[in-house]
Every structure is written in structure tokens, then in C-alpha cells.
Symmetry: C2
Subunit: 227 residues, 2 copies
């Protein structure tokens, strides 16, 4: 229980806008500033989304390059994790930034519903994103929106498609997908241990009002925190 | 443990062709014959898909009407369950047969991956299918391809969107979705009991080579069988 605590800070995310919350960092300069504050407060992983000039989510590799450079300069040693999530682009554009060779990248390995639409991660795209990550030596963070996604990570790892032991993030509290339920959270943790070993790292992200709840559960169960 | 055993027979399914297996019943006449054999052997629910003249899966209400009529005539008292699954049609065509007022209809409540594509069940379509079933007094069989689908059924039931206590079918062994894993099966059963009560009915379907395995597990755990 004296493991150093890894704190993963999500910079901006793909959803909030300045209209929702004027404090949300949108430009790369604002994002680097906010990451640096989190880094100085102890965060070790920066989970990064970027926005275009209108504030909309994008997968633009140039934006990601600028953000990565800024974080590396101002937060030496911090682990940079770039998002390949589907809110920021479609198809292979979602992986256009992987040639930047970040330390980590997020990887969705299955499909599920979002509040108003299907979050589509077709098998061939998942395979391609994983193979790009392998090419560039990038460790994936598996985004587990449902239980089968943890098993899918195991199947991919067994086939040698992933770099290192899968690092799973449980995403809970998404409407029309997995709710934030403690017994499922406990089962997720148990599943990671069964599939990847007692010491396999994992983290948990609660969406919206579930964030604090999930952080409490994760802290108590030995997971990494996400803020 | 002396509950009468409900056996659910899947007529034809949406995938096999005469080329795969010449014994697969494709025409409505063949389907009714094969259902009658199962009925006489003790099956109580007929889970029905239909094919067009070329043997391709279809959601054609006229085909479903002919099959339903044939089963009702030759298998008096058998529960007719029509499939609204996405292999047979897209969008609202999937529910075009619901006005036939079958006893039951299958209902997918979330999205997931299939071996080569995304099985898309967008939230607005799920809601529409459920509301049609409610309009026509049809009991849904919830197709649970993943754990969150059982929770989604609970959320829908709590909102009054489903007729009766949800009857959940676990679908396991689909590539790129949930594998046939005993510990997950056990957790599914536990989840149904936690959410819908100790006596809530459920059944399990193992895809392909997993069918016998899943039937063994279901028989031992008190679920309904699927053949
Ligand atoms: Zn994380
Ligand atoms: Zn993200
Ligand atoms: Zn069934
Ligand atoms: Zn079916």
C-alpha cells in the first residue's frame, strides 16, 4: 500500500467548451500551463485531447505535436498520453498523431453506446491503431467502456498486438453505456488481476458527476487516479 | 430445482446458409416443420429469424407473418419470439414485424463489435423498438452481448419502457465481443439476480462451438436452455 500514487490528469477532454466553463484550457498555451500546474501538484500522466481554432475536438497531428512539445519542455519526465478517441476524428485520422511517438496513447478496443450515438470502433480500425502503436513503440491505455473490452485487451495482448502489459482504464458513468456501479467496479478490478496479474496497473475515470466517486473507489482499491 | 425447464429453440438464425449445412431450414415451410419437431421434443419458445427467396436474412413482415401463423397452427401454446436483430435489416425496418403482436421479440439495447464490424444499436433506435414493443404488448428478450447491456435493461425497465420483468439472454463466444468465459457467465447470472430478483428468468446462447458449453452452464445454474 505504499506504492507511489500515479495521478493521470485529463487535459481539456473532448467535450467541455469555454461556454460550459470559462476555465477550460483550450489553446495549446493554456493546456501546457494547466498541465504544468497539475504536474507540480504531483500528476504523472497527461491524457491529452486537442482542439481546433474554433474550440472543436480535432485529431490534428500538428496540434498534438505542439502540445507534446510544450508538456515535455515544461513538465520534464511527465508521461504524455495522446487520445485516439472517436470524438476527435473518424477512421484512420484518429491515429494520425501516433508517428509523434508519445509515451502512451489511448486505445478503444470495442464499440458501445454513448448518450446519443454509437461509439464506433470497428475491428479493423482497432487493429490498425494497435499496429501503429506497436510500430512507434507506444504503450496503449485501454479504454474499457464495458467488461468485454478488458477481455478484448487480453486477446490482443496474447496475440502480441500490444506493447507491454495492458494498462486498462475503466470508464464509468456514461449514459447508455456502463453506469458507475460499485459492484461492477470491483469486478473490473478483479478481472484485471485475473487476466493481467495481481500487480497490473489500472485506472478509472468517472464521467461528469461520477469523477469524485470513481477516484475514491480507485484510491481505496489501489488504482491510479484520474483528475 | 424442479422448475419446469424452458427450452428456447432458435429457428435458422441469421447466419447459416444451405451451403454451410443442407439441413438448415430456410423456407417458411421448412422452418415450421423444424419448429414442430422441437416443440414436440419439449421446446417452449421459438426464437425466429426469416430469410428472403435468395436465403438472405430479412426483416420482411410478410415472411414473419407466415412463419408466426405456421407455428401457431402447428405448435399450439408455443411462445413465438421474433428477432429484431441487426443482421436482418437496418434502422426501423428491424421492427416492421412488431405490429404482428408476437408474444416476444428480441431487443438489443447496446452496441458492440461483431467479428468484422460494429453491431450498431443507436440509442434512438433502441428506444423506438422498445416503444413499439410496448405499444403492441410484446415482451422483449434482452440480448446481452456485454455486461452494460444488463444494466441498460434495468435502466429501461425502471423508466417503464419495457413490458414485464426483463428476460435477459446472455450471448457469449462472439469474436471481438464477450468470449465464453465461465466466471463472466457466473457474474451475469449474479447480476440478473441482483437487478431483477432471485427468480428472474434468463437464458444463454453460445455462438458456434460454444453452444453446448453454454447450455451446460445454463442448465447447472437454473437458466433456460437454447438449442
Ligand atoms: Zn489514466
Ligand atoms: Zn480522453
Ligand atoms: Zn432465449
Ligand atoms: Zn437471433
Amino acid at each position: 500500500m505504499t506504492q507511489p500514487c500515479i495521478i493521470c490528469v485529463a487535459i481539456t477532454g473532448s467535450l467541455p467548451t469555454k461556454a460550459d466553463n470559462p476555465a477550460v484550457p483550450i489553446t495549446v498555451v493554456e493546456q501546457v500551463e494547466s498541465t504544468q500546474e497539475a504536474f507540480e501538484a504531483g500528476a504523472t500522466i497527461a491524457h491529452c485531447h486537442v482542439r481546433d481554432d474554433e474550440g472543436k475536438p480535432t485529431s490534428d497531428p500538428e496540434r498534438f505535436a505542439a502540445l507534446k512539445e510544450g508538456i515535455e519542455k515544461h513538465c520534464p519526465g511527465m508521461i504524455v498520453q495522446l487520445s485516439t478517441g472517436g470524438r476527435s476524428g473518424a477512421g484512420k485520422t484518429r491515429g494520425g498523431m501516433l508517428s509523434l511517438r508519445p509515451d502512451m496513447a489511448s486505445l478503444s478496443v470495442g464499440s458501445n453506446n454513448f448518450p446519443t450515438r454509437v461509439y464506433e470502433n470497428p475491428p479493423d480500425l482497432v487493429e490498425w491503431l494497435a499496429s501503429e502503436m506497436k510500430t512507434y513503440g507506444i504503450k496503449p491505455e485501454i479504454e474499457a467502456f464495458d467488461l468485454s473490452h478488458i477481455y478484448q485487451a487480453k486477446a490482443m495482448a496474447d496475440r502480441g498486438e500490444l506493447v507491454g502489459t495492458p494498462y486498462v482504464q475503466f470508464v464509468m458513468g456514461v449514459k447508455n453505456s456502463m453506469p458507475a456501479v460499485k459492484r461492477v467496479f470491483d469486478y473490473y478490478v478483479e478481472t484485471v488481476k485475473v487476466l493481467f496479474g495481481e500487480d497490473a496497473p489500472w485506472c478509472a475515470a468517472g464521467i461528469g458527476r461520477h469523477q469524485i466517486e470513481l477516484n475514491d473507489w480507485a484510491a481505496a482499491a489501489g488504482g491510479h487516479l484520474r483528475t
